[in-house]
């Protein structure tokens, strides 16, 4: 099922929103063993689909008119359970709607459910969810990547054509790569964070996941909007990304990393990367080698800043106003028990790291230093973009891995984010697309663009997808 065809069929009244929704709900049920969803909203989705069909004229030209969508369970949905895959919010029903889900509704999409994820978006394998791991549609013993693993699996398994995710250190791009689909992390501040449960506020950014760049552009059109409720949201004129796909940006100068073979990237991933470079060359683009020895320091910086912010962001989960509360004799015990029971191991570990690096005497040695690395990496990219239009590099070090494999070696797991983290630290947009296969498993590569260059990213990916078929492969 392809987004563009589906939407055309809906627009030509060859298929109704109700039929599309029934189809998605059916597939979700058939593929329930993937554990891609935390909540399904069947009655709601069908009622909404009927409503859209009844008001066809109002919805037919909207960018997501009549299209079923799955939202990562990190976006608050008014009156509908939002768990962030945590026991802490197992039964939490928000009294308000996130800007992302509201925008998607306004664009005519039909939410069929909320997708599984790593608890509070902390993880790269979707194994930290309180609701159990998501399985990779390409191999049930494999992880789908994380933290937007449910959203990636949902699209890869053709349950919906589009889904939303969030990317703090690679959480859209890495699962997109491991599941063989396309995913875009926009520039920090392009998409509102209002109603998106915060992990690391200065890096969290919502973005689209879909089979191809076309669908991503349609979904980004819906998601991106200036929002006065988010002080870090950028006020700028909106761009029609779908239209941008037809633009001609000419021959691009694309940056590639010097010494990339020394970063511990698997042979399969490197091979796919090399063949993608050939395709880019055939499309008329040229390469510039970049010296980016600072790349690996990004991980250190990320694993200080993200835990620091998360330790503070997650303080609100104390059992007083909402969410889980443990039985306790006094207030002190209430906090300790509620939080020890309500949070999973990985979340607790990161809260501890974050509390440590912010505590008296350690702030300068850790937090401040990490923020300096962040500046260094941003400056490096600023320098790059004086010479090149985009930077091209693999998305992950390896393909989808077996469950439980890396969770036994957490640092190995953290290093999984080596290639995705720099874009988050700098706040730059980056987009992963499928670029090869090996052992019947997909491989992804990503473009990193300058600030607010989403149009160029989508256009470049789209042009590549016009001459390749990787994004059409299904499990």
């Amino acid at each position: 099922m392809n987004f563009q065809e589906t939407r055309n069929n809906f627009r030509k009244k060859q298929v109704s929103a109700k039929e599309l929704t029934e189809e998605s709900l059916k597939k979700a049920k058939e593929k329930s063993e993937l554990n891609a969803f935390i909540s399904h909203f069947e009655d709601y989705a069908l009622a909404r689909a009927s409503n859209i069909d009844a008001n066809f004229d109002e919805f037919k030209d909207k960018s997501l008119g009549g299209i079923p969508i799955a939202h990562k369970d990190i976006f608050c949905t008014d009156g509908k359970k939002t768990t962030c895959a945590s026991k802490m919010l197992e039964n939490f029903i928000p009294p308000y709607e996130s800007t992302v889900t509201k925008n998607c509704n306004d664009a005519g999409s039909i939410m069929i459910g909320k997708t599984n994820m790593d608890e509070f978006a902390m993880g790269s394998s979707n194994e930290t969810s309180f609701f159990g791991p998501v399985k990779n549609p390409w191999g049930q013993s494999l992880v789908p990547g994380g933290s937007s693993g449910g959203s990636a699996a949902c699209v890869a398994a053709d349950i919906t054509t589009i889904s939303t995710g969030t990317d703090t250190g690679g959480s859209i791009r890495q699962p997109a790569a491991l599941c063989g689909i396309t995913g875009l992390k926009p520039t920090y501040g392009l998409v509102s964070r209002w109603g998106m449960i915060a992990f690391c506020s200065s890096m969290d950014q919502a973005g689209p996941l879909a089979r191809d760049a076309f669908a991503c552009s349609a979904l980004l059109n819906a998601m991106a909007s200036y929002d006065e409720k988010d002080s870090t949201c950028s006020k700028r004129e909106s761009i029609d990304y779908e239209k941008g796909l037809n633009k001609d940006f000419g021959k691009l100068k694309i940056g590639i990393l010097k010494g990339i073979e020394n970063l511990g990237i698997s042979e399969e991933v490197l091979n796919a990367y090399e063949s993608s470079k050939k395709i880019l060359e055939q499309l008329g683009h040229s390469f510039v080698e970049l010296d980016f020895t600072e790349l690996s320091s990004g991980i250190c910086s990320y694993y200080v800043i993200a835990p620091a912010e998360c330790s503070s962001n997650l303080s609100r989960f104390d059992g007083v106003k909402y969410g889980h509360r443990s039985e306790a004799k006094n207030i002190s015990e209430l906090y300790l028990k509620t939080r020890a029971e309500g949070f999973g191991d990985e979340v607790q570990k990161r809260i501890l790291i974050g509390s440590y690096v912010l505590s008296a005497g350690f702030y300068d040695a850790y937090y401040r230093k990490a923020q300096k690395i962040r500046r260094m990496i941003k400056s490096k990219f600023d320098e790059f973009f004086k010479d090149v239009d985009l930077v091209f590099l693999p998305t992950t070090l390896d393909q989808a891995f077996e469950m439980n494999r890396k969770s036994t070696d957490p640092n190995r797991m953290y290093k999984e984010d080596l290639l995705t983290i720099p874009a988050n630290l700098a706040g730059l947009p980056a987009m992963s697309l499928p670029n090869g296969f090996s052992k019947n498993l997909p491989i992804g590569a990503q473009f990193v663009g300058n600030y607010f260059s989403e149009e160029l990213l989508l256009n470049t990916a789209h042009k590549m997808q016009e001459v390749t078929d990787w994004h059409k492969m299904t499990p």
């Binding site: 501040g189 694993y303 501890l352 790291i353 509390s355 923020q371 690395i373 941003k378 957490p410 640092n411």
Partner: protein, 93 residues
């Protein structure tokens, strides 16, 4: 990190780890810090800390009221409340 430091840290973060699991927790944390500590080798003097990637400034709103209060619904979200308040175990000053 020793057990006393861990206990301090746990209290600061309002978390609990069973006595018998504390060594394991310390090991896990130390393992992560080994990775993080690699940044000590870098010369970062010339870089100013970067807090927020876009470095925007001056976002504010005018002082106008908007009522989004839903008292009853808000209180119902709480694990324990009465008709007026959120209720918690006794706070001892």
């Amino acid at each position: 990190m020793n057990k006393i430091e861990l206990k301090n840290l746990l209290f600061l973060a309002r978390l609990q780890v069973k006595e018998e699991d504390q060594d394991k927790t310390i090991e896990k944390l130390q393992n992560t810090f080994e990775m993080i500590d690699q940044m000590n080798d870098l010369d970062l003097d010339k870089f100013e800390p970067l807090n927020n990637p876009l470095e925007l400034t001056n976002v504010s709103r005018s002082d106008e009221e908007k009522n989004r209060n839903k008292k009853e619904e808000f209180l119902k979200k709480s694990p324990k409340s009465d008709e007026d308040y959120f209720v918690v175990p006794k706070i001892v000053e």
